[in-house]
């Protein structure tokens, strides 16, 4: 039985037995290369649920501020986000039912568009790892694996780290060659080059806050960017403001970001948001040996002090 069928079965069971009030998953609304989050409350609707490499949203986003019991379809990275949310008091473990999906990676649409030189995709059909895309004047067969999102290429947690029901067998760990290749390149460049790089990518930001909305961990009641008493950061799209916004947002993810890549995929202007968050995750891992969202009841690495914490920054 394929995973999608299994998933639907599991969802039906949960709803029929009234173990949950809602199942949060993905559905296909017909737009090519996409799925949409859906909220299913009636067991009869479970066949709307789909599971494919276009299920790119991090549905942990929808778990905060709920009072009902929800089942959620969650990939490895999504389950890590859920763990962080539980640790940060945002969800109660007993109120979520995690349908864990071992995930071989999801497709980054933008890579396909780039590949097609922005040709307008009208239709996409997936069959056995091959996507047949059709536009007005072209048809092409593309391999899923050639268009995986960057974060999936260096994914170390493809299987759920926490779940109530796991749909399908565990996948073998990915042979990640150089998780931090791009970061290392950036680290090795001169400060002028780095500045130029960040200036270039961050000046594309139009302050739409899609990244913030997509991020499961950006759940603050009032974001620092929205505050004006005191106003921590200006509201313009001038580079001086966008850079402060992105650096601060990245800092706020320190020790929390699970590298699901939702922010970067949501960005309409292709800002390299993950370069900041991934660099911080790398530092946290190197300095404190910590990876976010792997364990319940784990304290965030910056919220406690150990005697052997690195201190070389104190000069």
């Amino acid at each position: 039985m394929d995973l999608q069928t299994k998933l639907r079965q599991e969802a039906r069971k949960l709803l029929e037995e009234k173990l949950v009030d809602v199942v949060i998953g993905y559905e296909d609304e017909g737009a090519p290369l996409r799925t949409t989050p859906c909220f299913i409350t009636d067991p009869q609707d479970v066949d709307r649920l789909v599971w494919n490499p276009f299920c790119d949203h991090n549905l942990a986003r929808y778990l905060t501020a709920r009072k009902d019991k929800a089942a959620v379809v969650a990939k490895g990275c999504d389950t890590r986000a859920i763990v962080v949310l539980i640790n940060e008091n945002q969800i109660e473990r007993k109120n979520v039912n995690i349908l864990g999906m071992p995930c071989g990676g999801i497709v980054d649409r933008k890579k396909i568009y780039n590949h097609l030189k922005n040709g307008d995709v009208r239709e996409a059909v997936l069959k056995d790892k091959v996507i047949t895309v059709k536009g007005l004047e072209f048809t092409a067969d593309l391999m899923v694996d050639d268009f995986l999102a960057d974060c999936c290429l260096s994914c170390r947690h493809r299987n759920p780290v926490l779940c109530d029901v796991q749909i399908g067998e565990n996948l073998p760990p990915l042979d990640v060659k150089d998780e931090y290749k791009k970061i290392k390149q950036l680290e090795e460049s001169t400060s002028e080059e780095r500045w130029e790089y960040f200036r270039k990518t961050l000046s594309k930001c139009i302050r739409c806050y899609a990244c913030r909305e997509a991020c499961p961990l950006c759940y603050c009641q009032q974001c620092f960017t929205d505050q004006n008493f005191p106003a921590w950061v200006g509201k313009t799209t001038d580079i001086s403001d966008t850079i402060v916004f992105h650096i601060m947002r990245a800092f706020h993810t320190t020790g929390r970001c699970v590298d699901c890549g939702a922010c970067e995929r949501s960005c309409p202007n292709n800002v390299d948001i993950r370069m900041l968050t991934k660099k911080i995750a790398k530092d946290v891992k190197e300095l404190f040996g910590d990876e976010a969202g792997l364990q319940l009841e784990e304290k965030a690495p910056l919220s406690f002090y150990n005697e052997d914490d690195p201190q070389d920054f104190i000069k």
Binding site: K67, Q221, Q222, F224, P230, L302, F304
Partner: protein, 649 residues
């Protein structure tokens, strides 16, 4: 209504005015309607100056005061009192430090200094506009003290406080009080027998009606704040009723289990049921359930069979006790450095290498005419083992080793004449009262002091004699000589119990790992936690006289707090904007004072937010810096105030 602010710019008798153009500073402040008056003064801290402020507050109906003068660390308190005299909250006073932060360091740049003075004063003005007239929080405070650790420091503090009529809870984790001093043979420099001078004091403890002694007890949890510390302790099960036990020793004879005796540093054995030491207080046998053959199920029960007064009861369990105290004295003492880590000295490998505490015990036995072992005639002491040693990360001097080695050497020498005793030292420190004289006497008695670090010790596997190789750094000769016994003068290190208590109370530690005092010079027994004091070696290596002195100091600090009946706490504390807070708990995690708890504030919606306990909060602002959404802030130094200060710069 706009505030009415009065500004004073001080000349500080030329200290400021010789560099900073006071006139310009005053002119720069003119304009805003809320600045009601701007005055300068030669010495605003003088009595005349203070009167001027008092007068102006009354006449001009000032409700904020800005003083551009010296550091608030220096005269802040003076002016806060002036504010109080005038009937204003001391927290609507702002000081711009245009001396230490301006005229002094920028002496050679008067123009720039003037500019900076203007900036600093304007910033204070901006902050003053948003100041809130905070009131000091008054906490009632009673007369109950918790003393953790029953070494000489804890005992002394308990007796001082008990005699003064305070209710003392003395908690000791071991079965007897006395600490390390109870293990010593004699004490330098007077060579009083340690047990003789200590045991009367130990005996006074249970006899004092104001002291509740709890031995074999550990502190499990402490919460609350000065005047209201909630303490939970766990009391081990001892299985022997001290009221019934007649100390007949029959159970000991019956008990089949032998284990190393802690009191003798493992040099002798004890049974699983035993008297902790001959001078133990409380003086009763106890059963050590960790080494007993077994109580659940009962494996042996030989002790109970022979116990005539029926004092042994196996059906007892550890208990928890809770009580409330107003102040706490931490006197958890020290541990000795485990010299096995210094492999070259062979402790743990060679049977004739001892640490100093073992030698104390051997001498105590020898003093009673029951030597444990013949230690031969040639004895070497090696100083600074685990002290002043960067390799083992103990850079500090342990302060007592030079003298205790001298003491042990003298005692050994006198015990049986004909001994040759060498002390290998790096530097000899005889700083205390009577120490230098003692050292001189030891030399005259024939103890040989050799300046040089010992490189290694080798054991003859057959004779077990030790060959010691060292360089005499004074004569630059290599010494290689055979000894019967080597004593390692081990340093004092912070112990596990202290770490535990420091964690419970959120006490900070100095670089060396000992607990940190609030101010090394002026508040040596206070900690940064209100109502918590330090006594004895928990704060750093020291000898008995210093430990006792510190215990006295700690108890008098505690008394002076408690005698007032109320405690006035700073009103500058963290504040949570509940409408913004999402209860992520980051602030609670980082708060060193455990002042924040995540609490359900709306039962209906289940909304959780951070809640600050204003008595525990020290206003350090760590939560404010941590909170991602800016919900946490510090009243009196708010983000808003600071951003306004930055704006006017």
């Amino acid at each position: 209504m706009a505030p009415r602010i009065g500004v004073y710019v001080c000349h500080c008798g030329g200290n400021i005015s010789e560099v900073v153009d006071i006139q310009k500073v005053m002119e720069s402040l003119e304009g805003p309607v809320d600045v009601v008056q701007i005055k300068d003064h030669e010495h605003i801290c003088s009595e005349v100056g203070q009167k001027l402020i008092l007068n102006d507050i009354k006449e001009n109906k000032l409700d904020r005061v800005v003083i551009a003068a010296c550091s608030p660390q220096f005269q802040g308190i003076t002016f806060m009192k002036t504010m109080e005299h005038a009937g204003l909250s001391p927290y609507v006073l702002e000081m711009a430090n245009i001396r230490e932060q301006c005229s002094w360091p920028h002496y050679d740049y008067p123009q720039e200094a003037t500019k900076k003075a203007i900036d600093l004063t304007k910033m204070s003005l901006a902050k003053a506009r948003l100041d809130i007239p905070l009131e000091k929080k008054v906490i009632p405070i009673g007369k109950r003290v918790l003393i953790i650790g029953g070494g000489i420091a804890g005992i002394q503090a308990a007796l001082d406080l008990g005699d003064a009529g305070f209710q003392v809870y003395l908690v000791e984790k071991d079965p007897s009080i006395g600490g390390k001093m109870a293990q010593l043979s004699k004490t330098f420099p007077t060579e009083d027998c340690a047990a003789c001078i200590l045991s009367p004091k130990m005996a006074d403890v249970p006899n004092n009606p104001n002291i509740k002694l709890m031995t074999s007890t550990e502190v499990k949890d402490i919460s609350g704040y000065i005047g209201n510390y909630q303490v939970t302790v766990t009391r081990k099960a001892l299985y022997v009723d001290p009221d019934k036990c007649t100390c007949c020793d029959k159970c000991v004879e019956a008990c089949p289990v032998t284990v190393p005796n802690e009191y003798d540093e493992g040099l002798t054995t004890r049974k699983a049921i035993y008297l902790p030491s001959p001078i133990a207080v409380p003086h009763s046998y106890i059963l050590d359930d960790k080494t007993c053959l077994g109580l659940f199920p009962l494996a042996c029960s030989k002790c109970k069979e022979v116990c005539e007064p029926n004092a042994i009861d196996y059906d007892v369990y550890p208990t928890e006790e809770k009580f409330t105290v107003d102040t706490i004295i931490v006197a958890t003492g020290f541990d000795i450095y485990d010299a096995r880590q210094k492999r070259v000295y062979g402790l743990g490998k060679y049977e004739n290498v001892f640490n100093a505490l073992e030698m104390e015990r051997m001498l105590a036995y020898a003093g009673e005419g029951k030597p444990l072992k013949d230690i031969g005639n040639r004895i070497a002491f090696i100083q600074c083992v685990g002290s002043r040693d960067e390799q083992v990360e103990h850079e500090y001097c342990s302060r007592v080793c030079c003298m205790y080695a001298t003491k042990l050497a003298c005692l050994l020498n006198r015990e049986r004449p004909g001994k040759e005793i060498y002390i290998f030292y790096t530097d000899l420190r005889a700083y205390g009262k009577g120490f230098e004289e003692y050292y001189k006497r030891a030399q005259s008695e024939g103890i040989k002091y050799i300046r040089g670090r010992v490189a290694e010790i080798l054991e003859d596997p057959k004779t077990k004699k030790l060959t010691l190789r060292a360089e005499d750094t004074l004569s630059r000769k290599i010494i290689e000589s055979e000894f019967n016994t080597v004593v390692l003068s081990v340093g004092l290190i912070p112990n596990e119990g202290t770490r535990h208590v420091a964690g419970l109370l959120g006490l900070s530690r100095s670089q060396d790992g000992f607990l940190k005092e609030a101010h090394l010079k002026f508040r040596p027994v206070d900690t940064l936690i209100e109502g918590v004091f330090l006594a004895g070696t928990v704060q750093g290596p020291k000898d008995i006289p210093d430990s006792v002195a510190q215990a006295g100091a700690a108890s008098s600090r505690a008394i002076s707090l408690m005698n007032k009946g109320v405690y006035e706490a700073e009103p500058i504390t963290a504040q949570i904007d509940e409408s913004i807070c999402i209860g992520c708990g980051m602030c609670a995690d980082v708060c060193a004072y455990k002042a924040i708890e995540i609490t359900v504030v709306d039962a209906h919606t289940g909304k959780k937010t951070a809640v600050v306990n204003e008595f525990l909060c020290k206003g350090c602002g760590t939560c404010a810096a941590t909170c991602r959404s800016g919900a946490a802030d510090v009243i009196g130094v708010s983000d808003h105030q600071i951003s306004k200060m930055i704006e006017v710069m």
